[in-house]
């Protein structure tokens, strides 16, 4: 894959270059600020982009804004946003424009190389990769809701679904057969009163929107 990286931290930028190069991907550009990112994405047409939330000049949330700006001109641009900490509000903002080809992960997760590469691949293919931390934080808010009616297994499936995994991966992670994952998902959607959908990113969006607004 052809990758563009927006990361001002030299150590991390080097690490990502090393990792992606070792995996046979081509890093076509590494930029250190938001304006350069938008310009280079327009010129290089990468398959996937990796963007740090905090970028110069103010080191606030330029990465989020750059990602949203780039996706306004090219809505199907796959963006994986990396953050030092998880902020559900950022996830909500990123997802507002659709969950297709979108990822939001903690930087810590780069160390889990296989999972990180799988998430990058998923985003590049138009899927979604939400950090488990985002989903955990959304689920942690105690409240009276149909979520209480879910079984433990259904909750596990819900979390993995919200992270953006396919039925096949969910089955592998939970040591289930795919048909029973399918059955659990059917139950979850029925219990939460959500319209059933099998398209990955649309399903993620529905689940995250549900968690965010109830």
């Amino acid at each position: 894959m052809r990758v563009v990286i927006a990361e001002d931290n030299v150590l991390l930028a080097e690490g990502l270059n090393l990792l992606l190069g070792q995996e046979g991907h081509e890093v076509v550009a590494t930029v250190a600020d938001a304006a350069a990112f938008v310009a280079v994405v327009d010129r290089c047409r990468p398959d996937v982009t990796i963007v740090d939330v905090r970028l110069p000049p103010s080191f606030r949330d330029e990465g989020i804004r750059a990602a949203l700006a780039a996706r306004r001109t090219r809505p199907d641009l796959p963006v994986l946003v990396l953050s030092q900490y998880v902020e559900p509000a950022y996830a909500t903002e990123l997802l507002a424009g659709g969950a297709a080809g979108l990822g939001y992960l903690l930087k810590d997760k780069i160390g889990r190389v296989e999972e990180f590469l799988a998430a990058l691949q998923r985003v590049a293919e138009g899927g979604t990769a939400m950090d488990p931390e985002v989903v955990t934080q959304l689920l942690a808010r105690p409240r009276d809701s149909p979520l209480d009616g879910l079984t433990r297994r259904e909750r596990e499936v819900l979390v993995l679904m919200a992270e953006g995994h396919t039925n096949q991966v969910i089955a592998e992670k939970l040591f289930l057969v795919e048909s029973s994952v399918h059955k659990h998902i059917g139950n979850i959607f029925a219990k939460l009163g959500l319209p059933s959908s099998d398209i990955g990113h649309r399903r993620v969006l529905a689940v995250l929107a549900y968690l965010n607004h109830t």
């Binding site: 606030r60 559900p88 509000a89 160390g111 889990r112």
Partner: protein, 305 residues
């Protein structure tokens, strides 16, 4: 001490002026009723016929009027200034009181700061530093057995990675207690929105235009709201919380009201003392109104010129 006799003299003068008018009028009207040989007197003038009665009382009323218009106000002003000077705290006294307040809050701020530094040092030393040592050790061990026992090396590498993740997690937690990242990213309004969105009882946030604030003020306000929300959820059995934020003439006012059971006890580690300390360090004021039965309102006012 000096004030009382001076006030007495000024008061007598004013009284004399006021009393002269009815007294002179009475004398002028009733001089004829006085017994023979003991005529009524106005000052040194004996009133024995109508013409004397009229001109003498007219003269007295005129003098009284003149005094009332010209002299009494001047005296009254002197008196007021004198009393003010004698009774009100002098500029020096006011300054002294202010210095004392500042010295107290500053000492509190320094104490809090020192305690924070000690906590951070301890967390870094016992947590992150120790973890890095353990990671380094496992990496060294893995390097040694890499060719002779690859499965053992893989296990050690996994442990090293777990350790690194735990260290990152701890650091993130620590950073959050020093300066919440969302505050840096989004300012107070954005950070409060994030707090409100994640709070357990539903929160209504009403934030006016607060503009740019000093970082210390933002942190104090953020922690006050964060603590108040935690209290509402933990002790107050609240079902809704209302947060209002406004900036009025150089003061940031943050008010958190919950509909819980009230009766907040500051002595029972309710976090209110922490709010008070942080706010006082910035010369601000914390007000807690929590009657038994509720509602509880915590108001924080912070100067932000």
């Amino acid at each position: 001490m000096i004030s009382a006799p001076i006030s007495f003299v000024f008061g007598l003068l004013a009284l004399a002026v006021v009393v002269t008018v009815p007294a002179a009028t009475l004398v002028a009207l009733l001089w004829w009723a006085a017994p023979e040989g003991q005529p009524l007197m106005l000052s040194r003038i004996a009133i024995t016929d109508w013409p004397t009665a009229i001109w003498a009382s007219a003269l007295h009323i005129a003098i009284a009027a003149l005094l009332a218009v010209l002299v009494v106000p001047v005296f009254a002003r002197w008196h007021a200034q004198l009393t003010l000077a004698l009774l009100a705290p002098s500029a020096t006294e006011r300054l002294a009181a202010r210095v004392e307040t500042l010295a107290q809050t500053r000492a509190g701020a320094v104490d809090t700061h020192q305690a924070e530094l000690r906590r951070i040092e301890r967390d870094l030393h016992d947590g992150t530093q120790a973890r890095l040592v353990a990671i380094n050790l496992r990496l060294g061990m893995a390097r040694r057995v890499l060719s002779t026992d690859p499965p053992a090396a893989a296990k050690l590498l996994d442990q090293a990675r777990d350790g690194a993740e735990a260290a990152m997690d701890e650091l993130r937690g620590m950073i959050r207690t020093i300066y919440p990242p969302i505050l840096a990213d989004r300012g107070l309004s954005g950070a409060l929105q994030s707090l409100a969105a994640q709070a357990t009882p539903p929160v209504r946030l009403v934030a006016g235009a607060i503009g740019k604030l000093p970082a210390a003020v933002e942190v104090a306000a953020y922690y006050a709201v964060s603590e108040a929300l935690a209290n509402a959820a933990r002790h107050g059995a609240a079902t809704t919380v209302m947060i209002t934020v406004e900036r009025v003439s150089g003061t940031l006012r943050v008010k958190v009201t919950d509909d819980g059971i009230g009766g907040a006890d500051e002595t029972r580690g309710s976090g209110i003392q922490g709010i008070r300390r942080r706010v006082a360090a910035l010369d601000g004021v914390t007000t807690v109104d929590s009657p038994p039965g509720g509602p509880t309102t915590i108001t924080v006012e912070l100067p932000c010129e």
